[in-house]
């Protein structure tokens, strides 16, 4: 029989937020249909490096394993993507795994993406319906609007679009494509549209839509194929209208 097939992987590790990162290399037995999550679980089962040193399991975040929860985003061979849909057979070896660079590392490949949630709140990217009495059903949505809104609603808050954006960095507080796309989604919704003005007001604030400089990486990196560039441009159009007309006549 032929020699047993193996998979070579190098992982950037970091034990705690304030500690220095370092690299470890692992050699694993190849399995059919292996993806990066399976690979990381195999390491957890037997956390021994290539040199035979016993180490700790590699921490990572994952949940759905089918590209709908967003948790498993990381840099795989230098590119931001979901680990659960990254098939080992399609990756060049040694496979390089690193945490996302635009979010604080919790441990190893596990990052804290809560900034995205904070920014969704900051940009009012939700529909406020809580109150002291039942509001009843909202207005019906025309099928044409549904069709436009549905793709926008598929965002899984993975953060890939922020990771690849040159405008998202430590010198800027740009909220990034995902959040602006949600602003567009909720402005499209007939109930959400009742707060369109406030939402646009927020999105013209610090870190808002004007910080986009059209590098258009977000749309290439999004695992859900969301038309992010179009969303940003549409929000820009609504914002400038509100700015000019609000200023002249408002």
């Amino acid at each position: 029989m032929a020699e047993k097939k193996t998979v070579l992987v190098r992982i950037k590790r970091q034990l705690a937020p304030d500690q220095k990162p370092y690299w470890e290399e692992f050699e694993l037995t190849w399995r059919p249909f292996m993806n990066v999550i399976i690979l990381l679980r195999d390491i957890a089962e037997r956390p021994v490096t290539r040199e035979g040193k016993v180490t700790t399991p590699v921490a990572f975040d994952a949940n759905c394993l089918e590209e709908v929860c967003g948790a498993c985003a990381m840099r795989i061979n230098g590119k931001a993507r979901q680990a659960c849909s990254a098939l080992v057979d399609q990756l060049e070896q040694p496979i390089r795994l690193e945490p996302l660079t635009k979010f604080p590392v919790v441990r190893d490949l596990f990052v804290d993406r809560s900034r995205m949630f904070e920014n969704l709140k900051r940009m009012k990217a939700w529909v406020p319906i809580d109150g002291t009495y039942h509001l009843g059903e909202g207005p019906r949505i025309a099928p044409e609007v549904q069709q436009r809104a549905y793709p926008l609603s598929r965002c899984i808050t993975c953060g890939n679009c922020l990771e690849v954006c040159p405008q998202v960095n430590e010198r800027s507080d740009f909220v990034g494509a995902a959040i602006i796309n949600q602003v567009r989604l909720f402005n499209l919704h007939p109930t959400g549209a009742m707060h369109k003005r406030e939402r646009l007001d927020a999105v013209m604030g610090p870190g808002g839509v004007h910080d986009c400089a059209n590098a258009q990486n977000c749309v290439k990196a999004c695992p859900k194929g969301i038309p992010l560039v179009e969303s940003i441009s549409e929000v820009n159009r609504d914002a400038i209208r509100q700015a000019i007309f609000g200023w002249l006549f408002g």
Binding site: P166, A202, M204
Partner: protein, 220 residues
């Protein structure tokens, strides 16, 4: 500029939009005028000097220059350097077309800033605003100046062409992928045209090439 009376600061939004707008108007418009007037170098020396003299003797020249040219360029350039510093290109990790354009937009802006500063100093201030064809010819006979002009023209033309594409996307004028592709072609056309015209002028002066001189000849 508070659109709906809330406390959100829109100051940065305002400066960002002003920066974007000044790139087209008046700076882009002035660049078009500048290339147009200098194209008279391709007609004849006399015509060039006549047009230059005309521009040099308009009433309210200095306030107009200051308001329509110097101030906008100083603002766009100064704020542009700040924006250049604020962005962090990752084009080597993600070598996609629009990402290259993003990176080049920043670097050509910087090149344009240095070039324009030097160009205005030598051709506007050293000549006391009375520069002639002979001054330009003398400058371009120096190979260093000649190449500086080539670099300056290519960088600035690219910056304007790609900037127009950016502008159309960033003001929500071209929103869909299709419209943005159209806008990109339009921007490319502007960039290529400005490069071609600019280079023609420089080469025309450097090598005494006057393709439109026959305009000035008497009728046969």
């Amino acid at each position: 500029m508070t659109a709906s009376g809330t406390s959100t600061s829109h100051r940065e939004y305002f400066w960002r939009k002003l920066h974007s707008f000044t790139g087209i108007f008046p700076i882009g418009a002035f660049l078009a005028e500048h290339f147009w007037s200098n194209s008279y170098a391709l007609v004849s020396v006399e015509k060039y000097n006549e047009v230059s003299r005309g521009l040099q003797t308009i009433p309210w020249r200095v306030p107009l220059e200051a308001l329509l040219i110097w101030l906008p360029i100083l603002f766009h350039g100064g704020y542009g350097v700040y924006l250049w510093w604020k962005g962090k290109s990752n084009v080597l990790d993600y070598p996609w077309m629009a990402n290259w354009m993003y990176t080049l937009q920043r670097w050509t802006g910087l090149v344009a800033f240095v070039f324009i500063g030097w160009h205005v100093y030598t051709e506007r201030f050293l000549t006391q605003g009375k520069s002639t064809y002979a001054d330009v010819e003398r400058a371009l006979s120096d190979p260093l100046y000649f190449w500086l002009y080539i670099v300056g023209i290519v960088a600035t033309s690219f910056h304007l062409g790609n900037g127009i594409w950016n502008f159309l996307c960033k003001w929500g004028i071209a929103t869909s992928a299709r419209a943005q592709r159209g806008a990109a072609w339009f921007g490319a056309l502007v960039g290529v045209t400005f490069t071609a015209v600019g280079l023609a002028i420089v080469l025309g002066v450097r090598f005494d090439w006057k393709p439109f001189e026959f305009y000035t000849l008497p009728r046969q």
